[in-house]
């Protein structure tokens, strides 16, 4: 007998990528998020919506152990984040690619070095060819030597996506990846995320762009999680 979890009907005992159990988070000024319970099954595609300030970024930070829940349990790859050592957190982050809202590049390193940073800090190396292929896939092959401050926001977002997936993560989290991109560029980025999902990656995209969600739904069976009244709810299919 299965049970319904966000995104899918799943059999009992099946491992989840990310699980929240009665999770609450409080920055100190009262609970921002309360009593959230949900599961992200492998291969699922979710959007996370809600007005600005609702706690989307906070939710994502809970999902890659940047923040620890003030109540309840966050489980990443079957391990409670409360039990993770700092090294465990580092290892877990190698399995979760994050496109941060503000990209988080090292401005003194070239685009290539920034994209390859997760490999570098993991002490791994990739072929020049693989790196070039990845940059070509996000359309940045001409800019490999550029420094991040010289890039446009669309280029930065695509570079951030390239960096998020270079380790071959199981999960991709993107925080408003199309935040300040024009429609055409947004679609391009969405296409990349959809492609990754079709390769089997679990994708969660925080956005308040309803047009983007509608567009995505025509390409993948995406589900929408909405943050409202401090809770995360599975939204209806009427978007």
């Amino acid at each position: 007998m299965g049970e319904y979890r966000a995104g899918n009907w799943v059999g009992a005992g099946r491992p989840f990528m990310i699980s929240f159990d009665n999770v609450a988070y409080n920055y100190g000024g009262g609970e921002l998020l309360s009593d959230m319970t949900l599961r992200l099954a492998p291969g699922s595609f979710h959007f996370l919506t809600g007005p600005s300030g609702a706690g989307k970024t906070t939710f994502l930070k809970l999902s890659y152990a940047e923040l620890l829940p003030t109540a309840g349990h966050v489980t990443l790859f079957d391990r409670d984040v409360h039990g993770l050592t700092r090294d465990d957190v580092a290892m877990t982050r190698r399995r979760i690619g994050v496109v941060h809202q503000d990209c988080q590049f090292l401005d003194h390193l070239s685009l290539t070095a920034n994209v390859a940073l997760p490999l570098t800090v993991a002490g791994r190396h990739t072929g020049e060819g693989d790196l070039a292929d990845l940059l070509a896939w996000v359309g940045l092959d001409k800019l490999s030597a550029a420094l991040p401050p010289s890039l446009s926001s669309g280029e930065r977002q695509r570079a951030a996506l390239a960096r998020a997936i270079i380790m071959g993560p199981d999960v991709i989290l993107a925080d408003e990846p199309t935040g300040n991109l024009d429609w055409e560029m947004s679609l391009r980025l969405l296409t990349l995320l959809v492609e990754l999902n079709k390769m089997g990656k679990t994708v969660l995209v925080a956005t308040h762009d309803l047009n983007l969600i509608r567009q995505a739904k025509s390409q993948v069976p995406a589900r929408v999680l909405r943050i409202a009244k401090r809770r995360v709810q599975l939204s209806g299919a009427d978007l």
Binding site: R93, R94, L106, A113, L117, T120, V121
Partner: protein, 301 residues
């Protein structure tokens, strides 16, 4: 000089990838080198002081051979009588192991440096010398003098080496102080390097945050700082050690008249000791930076 050493070291210790991703952090670099250099410079002198006073203490202690002399001058007809009396007194004094009158030949040998070999011992009225050997428990000098005065008025006790005893003790104390100074210098350097490392880490907080976000372990990030500070301490300390050695070499050479102050230098294998300081400074920097980095990383992210 420093640049050459740094480049040699860079080749011996190949750069970590972490070095490339953590940008160098400006002013703390020279602060670390300078501190290590200045501290090592001081440590060289503390070391010289310590070794020289150690030598002195040993030399003076050895000189305290626990011997004294009784000089006996008396009219010809009384001399043998008084000699017997002196030997009798000495034999019954607690703390004295043995006493023996020197022969004429021995007296002559002692006096030769002053009067030449042709001294006519027979014609010149020489004092008789009695060598006294203590048994180590010490004797009461004042009491002995009083008893000698009573029984042999021509006898004078000369415990010439005794004045050195407090000097030898002072020299030993000085050696201890020198070693303590080196310890304090090391601790001060560790404190300074910890502060510099913390400042450097704080200045690089944004980079560290990004590195943590992309999955860097603390040890990886710490290594970039540890390696940098260790190399800086090593090069700075090497420069300080060389400067300190030059300073010691330029001190006036040891002279008997100058006593302790002119003896402040290294002897023989002692010259190797200053070369221990730079690796020691590097070790201190390594430990201090590693501790600071791992602690600060926990606070930063």
């Amino acid at each position: 000089m420093k640049a050459v050493l740094a480049s040699v070291l860079a080749r011996l210790v190949p750069a970590e990838p972490a070095d490339a991703v953590v940008p160098p952090s400006g002013h703390t670099a020279w602060l670390t080198s300078f501190t290590a250099g200045a501290m090592t410079f001081l440590a060289v002198f503390a070391l010289a002081l310590s070794l020289a006073s150690g030598c002195l203490a040993d030399r003076w202690s050895a000189a305290l051979e626990r011997t004294a002399t009784v000089r006996l001058s008396a009219p010809e007809d009384q001399i043998e009588l008084q000699l017997t009396a002196v030997l009798g007194v000495l034999a019954t004094t607690p703390g004295i192991e043995s006493a023996r009158a020197l022969t004429d030949e021995e007296s002559r040998a002692l006096l030769e440096p002053w009067f030449g070999p042709d001294l006519p011992v027979e014609t010149v009225p020489l004092p008789r010398l009695i060598e006294v050997v203590e048994d180590g428990s010490g004797y009461d000098g004042t009491g002995l003098r009083q008893r000698l005065a009573a029984e042999a008025p021509g006898a004078v006790l000369d415990d010439h080496t005794r004045w050195r005893e407090p000097m030898a003790e002072a020299a030993a104390r000085l050696r201890l102080l020198g070693l303590l100074s080196i310890g304090l210098i090391g601790a001060a350097m560790a404190a300074m390097i910890t502060l510099a490392a913390n400042a450097s880490l704080a200045a690089t907080a944004q980079v560290i945050k990004v590195l943590r976000l992309v999955g860097a372990r603390d040890a990886y990030i710490a290594r970039a700082f540890v390696r940098r500070f260790t190399l800086r301490a090593l090069t700075g300390s090497a420069a300080g050690a060389i400067a300190g050695l030059v300073g010691v070499i330029l001190l006036p050479a040891a002279q008997p008249a100058g006593g302790f102050l002119t003896g402040l230098g290294f002897q023989g294998a002692g010259w190797l000791w200053p070369f221990v300081l730079p690796p020691l400074a590097a070790l201190v920097a390594f430990v201090a930076t590693r501790a600071a980095a791992l602690r600060t990383l926990r606070e930063l992210t």
